[in-house]
């Protein structure tokens, strides 16, 4: 059920997806229409983001008649809240930056 930390990080690195996830976490279950109204983002775009969030296990959809109600799955954040996972990603990205710096120091 849990997504990989890297996958969750990548999904949430997009500000619109993050806003959707935060809104669902805060305000509870919502339809795509309710999510679209105040966002200034088109409905197809919101739907696409919801699809990505669902794939990462961060959002769940419940079908009721013609509407789908989306809700946040904060449990999917577990891999991120794990220290080791966070720092593993953190240090690997810092190693990349260190290598970039070392290359520059040659010049």
């Amino acid at each position: 059920m849990h997504a990989e930390p890297t996958a969750v990080l990548k999904i949430l690195s997009d500000p619109t997806r993050r806003a959707i996830f935060e809104r669902l976490s805060r305000d509870g279950e919502m339809t795509v229409h309710a999510l679209t109204d105040p966002s200034g983002v088109s409905q197809p775009a919101i739907s696409k983001h919801l699809g990505a969030l669902k794939l990462a296990g961060l959002v769940r959809g419940r079908r009721d008649g013609r509407e789908t109600y989306y809700s946040a799955e904060p449990k999917a954040l577990a891999p991120l809240i794990d220290w080791i996972g966070f720092y593993s990603t953190f240090w690997n990205s810092r190693f990349d930056r260190l290598e970039t710096l070392l290359k520059r120091m040659d010049q």
């Binding site: 690195s13 220290w83 240090w91 260190l98 120091m105």
Partner: protein, 135 residues
């Protein structure tokens, strides 16, 4: 990796095609540390206390040991985590093998990280930067 006292250790290791001396400078000179790690007031002096400052918070550190061109370790305290970061440099035919070991993770520290003291916004800002490095 689990140890007897139930703390965990994270190891990140990479061989870099650069001299020991150069890698050492990047690890121990404050303006260079800022370029790849974080804004800081590091000084290569045992016992020196310094802060690493990122968007997601401040890491409080103290230098524990320095062996020029070989090893550097400092405490790393941030968001409820008390740990020790140790850098080890080993010469190789191609350059330098750089190893980072962060020890002191305990299972209960996950709670500290998730705590209300650090809001979602900071948490995600930090993640965004980390994720930017993954792209």
């Amino acid at each position: 990796m689990m140890q007897a006292n139930d703390t965990k250790t994270l190891i990140v290791e990479r061989e870099m095609p650069h001299s020991l001396d150069k890698v050492w400078r990047a690890l121990t000179q404050s303006p260079l540390i800022e370029e790849w790690l974080m804004d800081n007031d590091f000084q290569p002096v045992v016992g020196h206390r310094f802060d690493l400052r990122a968007d997601w918070g401040v890491v409080e550190c103290q230098v524990l040991a320095i062996e020029p061109n070989q090893a550097l370790s400092y405490t790393w305290e941030a968001m409820g985590l008390k740990s020790v970061v140790t850098w080890t440099l080993t010469p190789t035919s191609a350059g330098t093998q750089l190893r980072m070991e962060q020890s002191g993770f305990r299972p209960d520290q996950q709670q500290a990280y998730a705590g209300a003291k650090y809001g979602w916004e900071k948490f995600f800002t930090g993640l965004e930067r980390v994720a930017g490095g993954l792209a």
